[in-house]
């Protein structure tokens, strides 16, 4: 508003920049277009207000705004809803709305009442659930310390349960701790009170939920037999290289369980294809489980910070191969994983997985459908697409996973990562070890499903 008045005054003074009279008009125009960010404070407050008003409890606000309509009806009548019933045709409406018995909630109830009611209701449910589960409680001794968070619970559940018949006749203290822990877990999830690393890895969720769900599959469904679990480095980085198969990457998930359980809780950080991360939900879950993009920058960053990194160099060629090609290793990429290991001087641990080939035996690959959907392959298995979603249930083959002798890279010069001959030589060595181990394991396994 003072643009025209302000400019000449400044120009006439000792201001070194004389903008000139002809610029004044342009100046005014520019100034009009250009906002005033520091004036933003009151405007922001005004914008803030509606957002704030609607947030604490969306249901309660309209009532607060219309006190007049709420006041004529006595608050003691539980079913009375003046604003609804009065304009509507009475005979038609009233039978539809019998007096609510369980929750005398009304629109103009304050939030606290609503919360109290919900909380009471929830508490009641918990009590009922407890009454139902109490008698057989001691019999159900979980053989895996899964649901309770061992890290923030001072008394691990397994220890708590053993002496409990004397000290804790019902096992109630343990059960209560479990429940309180679960309530706390859900609360922290709902309020965002948990940590995620730079790669999007959510250690708590992986440990307490995802691995807990996968572990029964590992133990009961695939009955995985593990060999050489002690060959995984306990305290420094390593690159685990495995054979890929099975249409869906169950082998990666099972290896993650195997690594976690045989190293006392280390996590395997998987490297996934671009497609994984551009797929909604799948990419998100993968990141939460600690996976990241199969790129040398990410791999080297993880390896040099001492993580265990898992890679399946065959990629889609391996996982999407026909059943008749089972246990025949495909091309091992371009050896990028070897370069990463050499550059970060970590050992390479070959991982041989037998059993994943049979979970979804791929009889044919419908190429046109794959091209249409942008998928790398479109499998036809004995159960898919014949049985629809049921075809997604993996066949319960017997699995053997063997971690091989680590192949050291620290005697090589880090510069050797640029030498294609060295890289090819190590790639071939890793591939050969895995192929030979696969043959040996197949002989040991005997039957596909009985083991």
């Amino acid at each position: 508003m003072t643009a025209s008045g302000g400019t000449p005054r400044r120009g006439g003074g000792a201001n070194p920049v004389s903008l000139g009279a002809d610029r004044a008009a342009a100046e005014r125009e520019r100034r009009r277009r250009r906002g005033t960010p520091l004036l933003g404070t009151p405007r922001r407050a005004a914008e803030q207000a509606p957002a704030d008003r609607s947030t604490p409890a969306a249901g309660s606000t309209p009532a607060a705004g219309t006190p007049a309509s709420g006041s004529p009806t006595p608050g003691t009548e539980p079913g009375a809803r003046p604003r609804r019933t009065r304009p509507a045709a009475r005979p038609g409406r009233s039978p539809v709305r019998p007096a609510p018995v369980v929750t005398p909630l009304r629109r103009d109830d304050p939030v606290e009442t609503v919360i109290d009611l919900v909380a009471e209701e929830a508490g009641q449910r918990v009590v009922e659930a407890l009454e139902a589960t109490r008698p057989p409680r001691l019999a159900v001794v979980p053989d895996e310390p899964v649901p309770a968070g061992p890290e923030d619970d001072p008394t691990p559940p397994t220890e708590d349960l053993l002496p409990s018949p004397l000290a804790d006749p019902d096992g109630t203290a343990h059960l209560r701790d479990l429940l309180l822990d679960a309530v706390d877990f859900v609360r922290r999830r709902l309020e965002g009170d948990y940590a995620v690393d730079e790669f999007g890895f959510d250690a708590e969720l992986t440990e307490r939920v995802l691995l807990a769900v996968l572990r029964p599959v590992y133990r009961r469904w695939f009955r995985v037999e593990l060999r050489g679990g002690d060959r995984i480095p306990a305290d420094h980085g390593a690159l685990l290289v495995g054979n890929h198969s099975g249409t869906l990457a169950w082998d990666a998930l099972m290896t993650q369980v195997a690594v976690h359980d045989s190293t006392g809780g280390r996590f395997l950080r998987l490297l996934g294809a671009d497609l994984v991360f551009s797929t909604p939900v799948v990419g998100d879950v993968a990141r939460r489980m600690g996976a990241t993009l199969a790129a040398s920058s990410d791999a080297e960053r993880l390896l040099s910070s001492g993580e265990l990194v898992g890679v399946w160099p065959e990629g889609f060629k391996g996982i999407g191969k026909n059943y008749r090609d089972r246990y025949r290793l495909q091309r091992f990429g371009r050896g990028g994983f070897v370069s990463a290991a050499i550059r970060t001087q970590v050992p390479i641990v070959p991982v041989s997985i037998v059993g994943a080939e049979e979970i979804y035996p791929m009889l044919a690959d419908v190429r046109p459908l794959a091209r249409l959907t942008g998928a790398p392959y479109w499998p036809v298995t004995p159960t898919f697409p014949l049985l629809g979603p049921l075809g997604l249930v993996p066949l319960p083959s017997k699995w053997l996973i063997e971690f091989g002798e680590p192949i050291p890279t620290d005697e090589l010069d880090p510069g050797a990562a640029e030498d294609p001959m060295v890289v090819f030589e190590i790639t071939d060595r890793v591939r050969e070890v895995i192929q030979q181990t696969l043959y040996a394991l197949l002989v040991q396994r005997g039957s596909v499903f009985l083991g």
Binding site: R34, T36, L38, I115, A122, D168, G200
Partner: protein, 348 residues
């Protein structure tokens, strides 16, 4: 050594004003000249305000007369509405920078240039590396909005660096700046009843507190770091996590609808998210800040989480959190009441 003379552009904007004031208050006491086309709205102690447009050729004369040796370019606007629309915003950002650099090129006395940029120049996409270093190339570069402007600004700055090798140039690429006084498209998104996002994708976000951003600009202006520098608070929050901290659910939009959705939101005045902002919320972007720490010698005082918590507190964003707290307490009490007779009932 004689007293340094620092020229700060865009001082009538929030961050520009703060940077100018912080420079003036610095112990080394440089002389600070603030430049903008409108008078500042907050008093900046020790800053001499000069009213001029960076797009006018008189800037070169001003620089010579005042013997300016350091130029801090803060006049790159992130919010189209405060600039009066996308077109003037682009005009100010890109053409403004171009002309400022053209003026600088003719002034031999200038030895240092510091430009505020954004990490948005890296874009955001599913094929990105987990962390961007300063020399990472964008796998999905920004195509619209402020980040695109900054990409062009950085291009001109690189050209200037080639033409004037005697000037040491630093480019600060900031993660999303949040704070009590600042309003950005992203901070406004977290004040909406539903936080927009991309369906099935949960981006990793990083924030810098506005005070840390100002301190970083001051450190860079008076220091000697050259080239691009990433600036972000330590740590990461995912979009769903940040939304949960604000007590709001995330509304996942399918990516095909996302460009239209951002246009509607802007038209309704509910938000001014660009498509790039939505991709950031969906795919996320994390910066490797080791160059900031080790080369520039600057460590943000607040982590990403602390910066975001301060922002939420300053704006009173709590959403449904009180309800969740209460419910959890009530259920916890109910649990203790029901099974609390155990042997260590007093423990909790």
């Amino acid at each position: 050594m004689s007293r340094r003379v620092v020229l700060v552009t865009g001082v009538s904007r929030y961050l520009g004003g703060k940077v100018a004031a912080a420079l003036a208050a610095h112990p080394s006491a440089p002389e600070v000249i603030g430049l903008d086309v409108v008078p500042p709205h907050a008093w900046m102690g020790g800053v001499r305000f000069v009213r001029a447009d960076i797009r006018s050729p008189s800037i070169a004369r001003l620089l010579e007369q005042e013997r300016v040796d350091t130029v801090v370019h803060m006049n790159v606007i992130a919010t189209p509405r405060s600039a009066g629309g996308r077109v003037p915003m682009k005009e100010i950002n890109v053409i403004g920078t171009m002309q400022l650099l053209a003026a600088l090129q003719k002034v031999p006395g200038v030895t240092r240039l510091v430009v505020k940029s954004t990490a948005g120049v890296y874009g955001a996409g599913p094929g990105d590396p987990a962390m961007f270093t300063e020399d990472s190339s964008a796998t999905s570069p920004p195509r619209t909005g402020w980040a695109k402007d900054c990409l062009e600004v950085e291009g001109y700055v690189r050209g200037f660096t080639r033409r004037r090798p005697d000037v040491s140039v630093a480019l600060l690429r900031f993660a999303s700046i949040v704070g009590p006084g600042l309003e950005t498209p992203l901070s406004r998104a977290f004040a909406l009843p539903l936080v927009p996002g991309l369906l099935g994708h949960d981006g990793r976000l990083q924030f810098v507190h506005e005070i840390d951003a100002v301190d970083a600009m001051v450190t860079a202006s008076l220091g000697d770091v050259t080239g691009p520098v990433n600036v972000a608070g330590d740590g990461v929050l995912t979009t769903s996590q940040a939304a949960a901290m604000a007590g709001r659910p995330v509304l996942g939009l399918p990516e095909v609808l996302a460009p239209a959705a951002t246009r509607w939101l802007t038209r309704l005045g509910a938000a001014e998210l660009s498509f790039e902002d939505l991709r950031l919320l969906g795919y996320g972007r994390v910066l490797d800040t080791s160059r900031c720490r080790d080369v520039m010698g600057f460590v943000p005082a607040r982590t990403t989480r602390e910066a975001f918590v301060e922002f939420l507190a300053a704006h009173g964003l709590r959403g449904v959190r009180p309800v969740v707290d209460l419910l959890a307490d009530e259920i916890g009490k109910a649990v203790v009441d029901a099974v609390g007779a155990g042997r260590d009932g007093a423990r909790r």
